[in-house]
């Protein structure tokens, strides 16, 4: 899913980065993030966008289009806010496309271990993208943020599957809450 860059490729990039390294004064967190982004090798179902311009990298958006699993066919927009303490502090990630998912609540908060207690400064934006991809491939009902979704997933998996694919493709109401079709925009 994620092709890790080769060492040689990376060394070339490092050399290039070092060559034009003395441009604008950047914070340590920004420098590290810049490396993450230059090394980012996104699969074709994931895209990145810098809404504030390419020089304002601390806030960006990732769109994920799951190519397998229950959420296939949908497009989900995530906002990343990278703190100046990065990589010691993890980025704050939200799913702003409203989604019926046991590990994502209606405000777009995401329950993913590496965004919280299991974050380590050797992780990177790639690791988070991988984690998000995995989350949409394998929702986990054991530790839910959306308890109703988790309960349905456990008790009537067939119904859960039906409801998810319908909400993703066309939009539908689930338990009185409307989930618009997942087109990768802000609906949460």
């Amino acid at each position: 899913m994620i092709r890790l860059f080769s060492v040689r490729e990376k060394q070339k990039k490092d050399a290039a980065a070092a060559a034009n390294g003395k441009t604008v004064k950047q914070s340590a967190g920004e420098l590290r993030l810049q490396k993450d982004i230059s090394e980012l090798d996104l699969p074709k179902n994931v895209s990145i966008r810098f809404p504030n311009g390419n020089d304002k990298i601390m806030n960006f958006e990732i769109t994920l289009k799951p190519d397998e699993g229950l959420y296939k066919g949908g497009a989900f927009l995530f906002t990343f806010a990278v703190p100046t303490g990065y990589p010691h502090d993890p980025p704050k990630v939200k799913c702003v496309t409203k989604v019926y998912h046991p590990n994502i609540d209606l405000e777009g908060n995401i329950c993913l271990n590496i965004l919280r207690e299991d974050w380590k400064p050797v992780l990177s934006i790639s690791a988070i993208v991988y984690g998000l991809t995995y989350l949409f491939l394998s929702p986990n009902a054991d530790d839910p943020l959306n308890k109703e979704a988790a309960a349905m997933m456990q008790q009537s998996p067939a119904q859960f599957e039906r409801v998810v694919s319908q909400s993703v493709a066309r939009g539908c109401s689930i338990g009185g809450e409307f989930f618009p079709a997942a087109r990768g925009d802000r609906s949460g």
Partner: protein, 100 residues
């Protein structure tokens, strides 16, 4: 709040990439013979340190991480972090200026 992600498996691949003769600090991703983003000069100002697990970081980088944690663990392998003498570390590269 734990979500089971197969990140361990991925992590093994990632650490292999970063350690395969790559003289870059895993935290700041700056070369070991350069300096971390908060250091002014390479060399004495930015020593490279090893843990007993053989993972290496800039002193500033690992210190900052350890200070933010209640448990002192290596950010790569999660083993207990204990400083190891740089000269007997697992890396065979000499770090320019770090030991002078």
């Amino acid at each position: 709040m734990t979500f089971e992600v197969r990140i361990k498996k991925w992590h093994a691949v990632a650490s292999w990439t970063w350690n395969a003769g790559d003289d870059v600090c895993g935290i700041c991703r700056m070369p070991f013979d350069g300096c971390p983003p908060d250091g002014k000069y390479p060399g004495d100002d930015s020593p490279v340190v090893w843990g007993i697990c053989t993972h290496a970081f800039h002193l500033q980088c690992i210190n900052r991480w350890l200070q933010s944690q209640t448990e002192q663990k290596c950010p790569f392998c999660r083993r207990q972090w204990e400083f190891k003498q740089a000269v007997v570390g697992g890396e065979d590269e000499s770090e320019d200026g770090a030991g002078t």
